[in-house]
Symmetry: C2
Subunit: 240 residues, 2 copies
Amino acid sequence: MRYELYYWPSAQGRGEFVRLALEDAGADYVDVARRPGAKGMPALLRFLKGGPFACPPFAPPFLKAGRQVIAQTANILLFLGPRLGLAPKSEASRLWAHQLQLTIADWLVEGHDTHHPIAGALYYEEQKREAKRRAADFTARRLPKFLDYFEQVSARTPGRTGWLAGRSVSYIDLSMFQMIAGLRYAFPRAMARLARKHPRLVALHDRVSARPRVAAYLASERRIPFNQQGIFRYYPELDA
Amino acid sequence: MRYELYYWPSAQGRGEFVRLALEDAGADYVDVARRPGAKGMPALLRFLKGGPFACPPFAPPFLKAGRQVIAQTANILLFLGPRLGLAPKSEASRLWAHQLQLTIADWLVEGHDTHHPIAGALYYEEQKREAKRRAADFTARRLPKFLDYFEQVSARTPGRTGWLAGRSVSYIDLSMFQMIAGLRYAFPRAMARLARKHPRLVALHDRVSARPRVAAYLASERRIPFNQQGIFRYYPELDA
């Protein structure tokens, strides 16, 4: 099965959580919108304009798997996890992994909204004043709360395997790597200050980035560098 | 199976999406935090303090089903849907229903953030100025975009059953009822202006509210009225 991933070509964004799973599993996939010409971005836009599809996605990322089109990052990972060998086995454990992924999704929105607290349709510069207020709350309250939570989850995993949802690696670990990497890019000072309080998450980040296929991916051109169009953006004034 | 729902007792909030499914199915459940005394709120707080649980929830709502504890609204509905006869049968259709639920979850956050664009920990009055800006974008751009999307989804359901995810009612229809009801409460003027553009969603709202168990629930004391502590709040100045 060759998977087709549809996501904006200019930033890691939410697509990156899906890419990491596909890359770690060595799956056969094409990053559609990064293809040149009519088979690239126009193919993505066709879906967003509704096209003739019974199940249209609201927004990227979405994944085409045969005739199925699946949107919403966490939903894509729910689908892909078992197929890529990146999900726990039992239904209860799968719901738990999915629950963690949805909590990451909430965290991600809060991270995004530090630089866009008013509207996605406006530039950062048009909401900078509000962004400073929101980012101050994020780094002081929300960021530590999420980090503490996931550190606690890691400490409680039966067998203390170092993975978040069971005995072996799953997509949630790859997503946590991405969160730590992104937050370090966007909030280097806040993250450095908090690092000693979440040693397990730091170790998890390092362990994931050392996985051979992940390491090869991160070193490749397929990994779009962090930049100011993504969800994680570095504005020094937001990193108090 | 007697389900235990854990959610803040003072507002409909996210718990309402779960309540509606339990009520429509006539399920045996207890709304834990609304019980008086030590078996009420203290029972909820015990979970949030971490307790001895291997799978602690980050926030309410969460559902206890036997020994399983499941958090994240959409995840709870993913679990409950098939058990309550409120989910489509095939895996592909279940992912589709879940995808729609996650899109509703995104919409709900944006609705909430109209009155709390800076921080959940601050009062509305402390972020009123920013709220006005965010609400103006929400009612002008985001609200019509989400409504248009779901109206289109409804129009495309095979067989045009009037339900969002297949031949019969599913939890996503109950959630859409709640969105329309909540948005009408919070943004009566904007919703009245947009009503003629989403006749299918209006019809869906009416059809759900006329379902016997839903109607009985809505008329009961179990339904907490909309108020200024919930996700949907009515501030005239935010409803341009």
